[in-house]
Symmetry: C2
């Protein structure tokens, strides 16, 4: 089969790879319907994460089950499934508390930018649909695998409530999904920080009520002005840099929560600053599996259309161009049809 | 009148000072019934905070109103009052959200280790009792002013729920009040970290179900063992050092909350560590004013006895000995009768 390997920063190749096989009785093999390139794939692509060995890329996936191990009970060959980018057993205490992304058996999915993929702990990771979904729903179902679930978690961690004033820092795909999530949770006001016209437009379509194009001190001042100097009830930090995190903390009102889902790179906090700011924080890899049944239901009933976040669609064979387009910010997010 | 001044680390004096007077129409002057020495008073006393000018010490207080400014409406001369250590208007947006400790007009109380004190924003800061309380309730009412309210906030910020497993890091007065608060909130299990027999005993009396005497790695291992390797649902960090904060983060299960109320000294966090630990955090100066009516009610109806945390009672004139006893850990907390 063919799949995607990152050899070095900037060097991503579509190449022949060994077909995946059942290794454990809890595994499933799926034939991918679609996969995509994640913002976090750009960290090693850009050299921000060290690449010490060739990496089989891809952790967002949906497709049809081809084969399952002897212990798999909830999914069967022929079913269409969506899985979380974090592999979980969905039965350990952390899973039971809704934090499947910290499962005692946690693994991070890899190798999904390919024709076929092995999914460990299939019962705890995959969710099957009742029937084969319409083709036009594939992008939105794929989004549930990571980017939508991650934006949703940011809003959940930031405790968005009906009527809340929400600020979303970051206009990448996750930030845009954060806007969608906040809207679904009933936020009264959603302020999206974005400088790019196409992203601003999509944010507005997803429910943003205000766009702030300014950054840094000017951006903070603008949000303070928009919120009568109070700050936001909930802030979604969807970038992961020191600057974006500071932005998030400084537009959050005392007692509010920052839900942060951008993997922090070079971010540190001073304890005493954080203390006197009196802003709460909860972040981490999103427990997508918790939200997956609900999100898939919202997609299948066409209540949400997260798939619009994919503004570039390519055949999997052109995966390298998919990375380039995102790296150069020509695309928000690339969908790869398999 | 006489009051307390810190001139330099270790140099605290009971001396004659000018009597306080109404400076603004929102002020009240109170005659102190009792005051006390706070763990945070020890930071400058020990030289951990720089002392650049003589400091009028004391921010925990209760007593009888002597005089009020022309704009004060809710308290009147002759009433017994308890006030928060943070001055607040109790009407601004942050106060309305329950974070009076971040009030737009916030000031920190000072000069309460004295015979008389001026309390700014009296309406937003003080709560009066219906009648003069029994003398034996004075220590518990005084505790509500800061130490009890702070322990309560730690439990509230850590979102203690009925049945929760709670860890309290720190066996100082605030930590002990955290145990009491967790018990009142219905925690199912309360693990107090303490190495000192008298503090362990008080923790048990306040509702601790387990005592962990080990610290550092051994303490973390012991708590993991006690919680079947899951960690706690809520952790109360009541110290403020890097070591205690790390302890708190490492015994908290993914998705749990650490409520931190020890003013951080030299504490920093690495963003990526915090992200993958997936532990939530909310801290800051306690919004005591939010809890004050409820806490005073619990004391006046004798449902709780936080005053037991004072294990040394001295006349105000011996305030210097009160500091020494706490500095040398001969006392958990010193009450000063005025």
């Amino acid at each position: 089969m063919f799949g995607t390997t990152l050899y070095a920063p900037g060097d991503v190749r579509y190449e022949e790879l060994p077909e995946p096989a059942i290794l454990k009785p809890t595994d499933a093999i799926i034939k991918l319907s679609a996969t995509c390139v994640c913002g976090s794939d750009l960290w090693p692509y850009r050299g921000a994460n060290t690449v010490t060995a060739p990496m089989h890329m891809g952790h967002e996936y949906c497709g049809v089950v081809l084969e399952v191990g002897g212990a798999v009970k909830t999914v069967k060959p022929g079913q269409f499934v969506v899985g979380s980018f974090v592999i979980s057993d969905n039965t350990c205490p952390h899973c039971t508390h809704g934090f499947q992304s910290s499962c005692e058996q946690r693994e991070f999915m890899t190798g999904a930018q390919a024709q076929y993929a092995r999914v460990p702990l299939a019962d705890g990771t995959l969710v099957a649909t009742d029937e084969m979904p319409a083709d036009d729903l594939i992008p939105s179902l794929l989004a549930a695998s990571d980017v939508l679930g991650t934006g949703w978690y940011a809003a959940d961690a930031a405790r968005v409530q009906p009527g809340s004033t929400v600020v979303v820092v970051g206009d990448g795909a996750v930030g845009l999904m954060g806007v969608l999530a906040a809207k679904q949770m009933g936020a009264g006001r959603i302020i999206a920080m974005s400088r790019h016209k196409t992203r601003q437009d999509l944010a507005l379509e997803y429910g943003a009520t205000d766009i702030v194009a300014e950054r840094g001190e000017a951006g903070i001042a603008r949000i303070k002005q928009l919120t009568n100097r109070i700050g936001a009830d909930s802030v979604l930090e969807c970038v992961g840099t020191q600057e974006s995190m500071q932005q998030a903390l400084q537009v959050a009102r005392p007692g509010s929560m920052v839900g942060y889902v951008g993997v922090p790179h070079g971010v540190t906090f001073d304890g005493q600053n954080l203390f006197f700011t009196q802003v709460g924080m909860l972040g981490g890899p999103a427990p997508v599996r918790r939200f997956l049944p609900h999100l898939m239901e919202l997609v299948l009933t066409r209540k949400i259309n997260p798939g619009k976040v994919f503004d570039l669609e390519l055949p999997l064979a052109e995966v390298a161009e998919g990375y380039r387009a995102m790296d150069e910010r020509r695309a928000i997010k690339t969908l790869l049809r398999v």
